[in-house]
């Protein structure tokens, strides 16, 4: 039966030719309006305009009553109703060479004025729609039973999965309403009543500003006034045949209510946008925060007299920084359109069963509104129908744990604890908290899912950039977005799918995506992103097809990692510095022990043995002493290098946060320990040789020996104090870790060693020599 709806009332405006300017198809849910095709039917006449801007200008000029001529594919002229002539072009050279032409480009005054005028004239409009379809046929078409051998969509009680398509052939995926009657079978439908329904469509310009600039997006939100349900915005074909109308008498009150509803619905996407934008700059912000805070802290340490000013400056700069990185998301209500549409109440029931469900079929919009849950009042996209015609959502029905039968909470309200089928008092409630409170302060997959369309694309590209994939080209195919890009290892193809309502990602979706991911180039890396959780089969198919799959769970992990990246990096740095400090501490102790041992070995013992006779013994003693000095000098050179390495492992200046900078690696300190173990015996042996030489002799021998001993005792002291100059155990506080007194003593000891060396050299020159 073809349904013809009679026009509500005879309107003068209705006889006007409807505008034929092409209107792009609107998406089925809240979203943006796509670009118009580059030609328009009636207004285009024989000339083709090369630019969408000129097409819009042409239609605008005609709408204001101008006589429009298309002079060239890039030139448009018009005579306005007031007699003025205007000429527009999109070609820069033409605008420059011809004064009468105005350049029409984005951002230009001419375009801005045009757009402002269009916006002003469409701020508050009223339309009405004619019936455009058979309501009975539409109702039967839009309702479906659950997929064969499935029904999870009507049964699932999980908050996340409620009313979601969990199987590949779920009718929900075709935007149908899934109803499972207690008595299954073919459905019949009949018209119960006809009425007028008013809906309101609001258009918001969402402007998101952050440190990286500004991102705009349009959101349209339509609400059925009678039920308060969100409905799809008016489609392009419906708008093309819409007629002008007058506003309802109580439109202001209605508008207030609808705006409140819209703000509730749009709140989540807007907050998600803010969360995303903040997350995008968070790492940089935290780095800057650290820079500013530590700089002012250091300034306070450097100049205590300026502490107060530095403290004030710190607060001021931190506040300024937070402001620079603040995110503003503003939804400007740009227009409101009241749409009156004929609605038919259609009763559906199974041919062989009872239970009749009333559906509101909007024949103007060609849309069937989902029924409301008889228990909780929410719109039911997937639910069960009892014999009394109560539609119950998955969250409200109860199941008998003995026989598995489900129960209508409305029909059995008085005895819900007893199964109507088996009589057992073992009924398990499915009621759960449908919307658990989101408390996360970080950007999560849930936020990602809630993002408005354009912001979602931006977020996906950001996620790819976080994985060091640079995107080069993007195309949108159905609900898939395909990017061609470059990763560190080569070219990569990426597909992202945004499943509505957190549906599961099934193997069909994977195969569909795979078809777009350059299947002819198997060597190319392929990646698929989706906020939906992947089924086991989907994961398996992805593996088979060589697609790296990042589903909801992987994205959760990735986002959580990104959110804590800065903190983890900080922790990693601290752990790294602690490891270096530990290693440095061990090396320090080993060196100090060795130096103490050497120092002890060089301490003169009480036994004094006089060198031999003046000529032979003296000469021999001197020779031995000089040999011992040469040996200890060779060994101490290596020690000098070791101690130099030690001091070079630290910075002489504190880090900005006031800590000691340990530039030496763990392996370097380990190597130092090894070198100590190797050099200590050598030096001890050299010291032993020195100490075994006679304590006294003649001809300058005693002086030489004394000078050599003093030289190496002073060197030991210098090493000891140089090693003690840095205490890595307290590395977090430079003032404690850097021992300035020790450094000064080291300098003194080095000077003393130098003097002793000079004395020893002089004495050695005068000492008797053999041969």
């Amino acid at each position: 039966m073809r349904w013809f709806w009679q026009r509500r009332r005879n309107r003068q405006a209705a006889v006007e030719t409807p505008p034929s300017a092409p209107i792009p198809a609107a998406p089925a849910s809240v979203g943006t309006v796509q670009r118009a095709p580059t030609t328009s039917g009636r207004l285009g006449q024989s000339r083709h305009l090369s630019s969408e801007l000129l097409e819009l200008a042409r239609d605008y000029l005609q709408a204001v009553g101008g006589r429009v001529r298309v002079e060239d594919e890039d030139v448009l002229s018009a005579t306005l109703p007031d007699g003025r002539n205007v000429r527009y072009t999109t070609t820069l050279a033409k605008a420059r060479s011809d004064e009468s032409m105005t350049l029409l480009v984005e951002g230009s005054e001419a375009l801005a004025a045009m757009l402002d005028d269009i916006a002003a004239r469409s701020r508050l409009t009223a339309l009405w729609l004619d019936a455009a379809t058979d309501p009975v046929a539409l109702a039967l078409d839009r309702c479906a039973p659950p997929a064969a051998r499935c029904g999870r969509c009507v049964e699932s009680s999980s908050g996340e999965d409620a009313q979601t398509a969990l199987c590949p052939v779920c009718p929900l995926r075709e935007s149908r309403i899934v109803l499972r009657w207690r008595t299954p079978g073919a459905l019949t439908a009949r018209v119960m009543r006809q009425e007028q329904a008013v809906s309101v469509e609001l258009a918001y310009l969402v402007v998101a500003r952050d440190r990286q600039g500004r991102r705009d997006e349009w959101l349209r939100h339509a609400v059925d006034v009678a039920t308060g349900q969100a409905i799809p915005p008016l489609s392009a074909p419906a708008l093309a045949v819409a007629q002008p109308d007058t506003l309802p008498a109580d439109y202001e009150r209605t508008l207030t209510a609808v705006r409140a509803s819209a703000e509730r619905s749009l709140g989540e996407p807007l907050v998600a946008s803010g969360m995303f934008l903040r997350q995008r700059s968070l790492d940089e912000y935290l780095r800057r925060l650290e820079e500013v805070a530590t700089t002012f802290d250091r300034l306070q340490r450097e100049s205590p007299e300026m502490a107060r000013a530095a403290k004030a400056g710190r607060g001021r700069e931190l506040a300024a920084l937070a402001e620079v990185y603040a995110v503003d998301v503003e939804a400007q209500l740009e227009s409101a359109c009241f749409i009156t549409s004929p609605v038919v109440l259609v009763a559906l029931r199974p041919q062989k069963g009872r239970g009749e469900v009333l559906l509101r079929v909007d024949v103007g919009r060609q849309h069937v509104l989902p029924p409301q849950c008889a228990a909780c009042g929410t719109a039911v996209r997937a639910g069960q129908v009892c014999d009394e015609g109560h539609v119950v959502c998955a969250a409200c029905f109860a199941t008998c744990s003995t026989c598995g039968a489900w129960q209508c909470p409305v029909c059995n309200e008085a005895s819900q604890s007893v199964c109507v089928k088996c009589g057992q008092p073992t009924v398990e409630s499915h009621r759960i908290d449908r919307h658990p409170e989101e408390t996360a302060a970080i950007f999560t997959a849930r936020h990602l899912e809630a993002l408005p369309p354009e912001m979602w694309l931006t977020a996906m590209e950001w996620l790819l950039s976080c994985q060091r994939i640079t995107t080069e080209a993007r195309r949108i195919t159905g609900d898939l977005v395909i990017w061609q890009g470059q990763s560190e290892t080569g070219k990569v193809m990426v597909a992202a799918q945004r499943s509505p309502g957190r549906w599961a990602l099934d193997e069909i979706a994977i195969r569909q995506a795979a078809a777009h991911l350059a299947p002819e180039q198997p060597a190319m890396a392929r990646l698929m992103l989706s906020t939906a959780p992947a089924t086991g089969e989907a994961a398996q198919v992805a593996r088979q097809l060589g697609i790296q799959l990042m589903d909801r769970h992987s994205l959760e992990t990735l986002l959580s990692g990104l959110a804590s990246a800065h903190e983890r990096e900080r922790e990693r740095q601290i752990a790294d510095m602690q490891a270096r400090a530990d290693a440095a501490g061990s090396a320090r102790q080993a060196m100090l022990d060795a130096v103490d041992a050497i120092g002890q070995a060089l301490t003169p013992v009480r036994r004094a043995r006089k060198a031999g006779t003046q000529t032979s013994a003296g000469t021999s003693g001197s020779r031995k002493l000089i040999e011992a000095r040469a040996a200890i000098e060779r060994a101490s050179l290596a020690w000098e290098t070791l101690v130099n390495g030690w001091t070079e492992s630290f910075s002489e200046r504190p880090a900005r946060n006031g800590s000691l900078v340990i530039s030496g690696e763990v392996s370097q300190f380990a190597e130092m320990i090894e070198r100590v173990a190797h050099l200590q015996p050598v030096l001890l042996e050299a010291a032993r040789l020195l100490m075994e030489t006679p304590a006294r002799g003649e001809g300058g021998y005693t002086t030489l020996r004394q000078a050599v001993l003093e030289e190496y005792q002073a060197r030991c002291d210098a090493w000891r104090w140089r090693i003690r100059s840095y205490d890595p155990e307290v590395w977090s506080d430079f003032t404690r870790a850097w021992n300035a007194k020790a450094a000064a003593k080291a300098a003194e000891a080095t000077t003393a060693a130098g003097h002793a060396t000079a004395r020893a050299d002089k004495a050695q020159a005068q000492a008797p020599r053999a041969g």
Binding site: A21, L56, G107, R123, A293, A322, V327, S651, S732
Partner: protein
Amino acid sequence: MEKSASTASAIPAVEPPIHVTFTDAAALPHTPVASHAEFGHDSPASRWYALALRAQHLRVAASFDRLLAPAVLYDRVRPHSYQLRVVEQVLREKAPAAILADDVGLGKTIEAGLIYKELALRGLVRTALVLAPKALLSQWQEELREHFDEDFVLTDEKRFRGFEVEPRVICSLPQFVRSFVRVNTRPWDCLIVDEAHLLANPSSRRRQCTGELRSKWRLLLTATPVANRLTDLYSLIDLAVPGRLGTQREFEDEFVADPGTCRIVRPERAATLRNLAREHMCRTRRSDTDITFAGRTVDTRSIQATAAEDALISDVTDYLRALYRRAPTGSSKVNRGAVIREIMALQQSLSSSPQAIQRSLRARAEKHPDERGEVLALADRCASVVSAKESVLLDVLAELRDEPVLIFTLRLETAARLREVIAARGRSTECYIGALNRSEREALVNRFNNGTLSTLIATDAGAEGLNLHERCHIVINYDLHWNPMRIEQRIGRVHRLGQTRDVRVLNFVLHETIDDYVVRLLYQKLNLFTMTIGALETVLTEVQEGEFDLEERILELLLQDGDRSRLRNEVAALGDELVSARERQLAAESLTAEVLR
């Protein structure tokens, strides 16, 4: 900068705020606006609504991937590719603060203007404050208006309503410091500081105020970010991105090899410093661009005035001195400024021609009846005086034969007189003045450029933005501005990109007059006429840290004393001052080049 992780510093765990708001673009009207009756034959509501939906994506602010300003300003400015690169870099990588440190004369103002315009077109910037040296304030205002269609208000203009309410302001640095409390009563979206090296001293009040100013975007313009010391660079980067380089002591420890003079970078840290600077600075060297300018030759004719002309000049100057002495002083600063401006206008007329001073004196007589007798007597004497410059000009034009010549004069009367005498010699001549409408101007320019007009006499009021370099390469300054930038503007009409021949500049001055001294002892000493484009501004800002007004100084010298030799010496001393400023500037350029090479 050395960094290490530590738990020692307590960094506040403050997250940047997220503001989510719902607003109305405009109050929704109480009646449906788009009804059939209102919009004619074919404009029902659905049509407007459909148009609005189609137009939605055009109302979406574009990302910085694509610049909007060059197309929007197509008839106002044609940026060079390197300027566009700078704009892109700042917007995409360095936001929200950057130092624009191009070489002198490469157009930092254009870059800053484009950045501002891009931000303004996207609604990211609504309020802006430009801080510039006093000598450059008007130039900034003109450039922003002419090239960027942005109306900024100067603080000394009558229409200035105060820092608290004015959205776009141009202000001198001392004024900014004096009014800081009022300036900082609200946050500014964008701060532009020209000649930002004047803020290098961290302990100066101007630097502190700029640092404390609440502004989201900061653009610092200077050709010499390292003017005297390495710490100048620290100071500028710290102003743009506070905390980025740590404390000044930390910076000195890290990068400075000579803590005393602070001019040498530690060699091992030089590359790091350059990289750090590059993070926040855009610097285009002249050699990085493909800009080549034709040469310039200058020929100044010092012409002996006729006896009558000399006497007239002497008497009018005496009259001006008397006026100057009578000018209010002390608290009546505003009134004194007005008197000085009047004297300056008269002096310019005197320098221009007897016809010009006659007209100016008559106008003054009408305005000041008390001086009527004295002034009209002087004016009457003008009628019989013929300027010696006229005959020299005619001789020069005769030498040049058919060569197109552009003559500049300060006064309409002079232009009219010259047109008369030149046309009498059979040379096609027209005047290009501010009173012409757009099509008349275009017609004149076309005639001059296509060769049907050989002499164009222009006043400054009409000469802004002209491109006359296609056929013409000779400029005659029949009279002179004391503001050297105005002279540069004149020459710039033919000496611009695309000029293929060397530009010849002829200056006409009367011998032993103030103009003669200014040209010989000041401009020629400074090599003003052959100076790199843009260098002049930096020289002027170098003198007395930007608080220098050359015109006022010259006028003061002229009016203080009637003794010519003393006047000559004082102008020469002023010239020396400018030369040493130029030397300082060159030294700063050299140091900057060395540090940031």
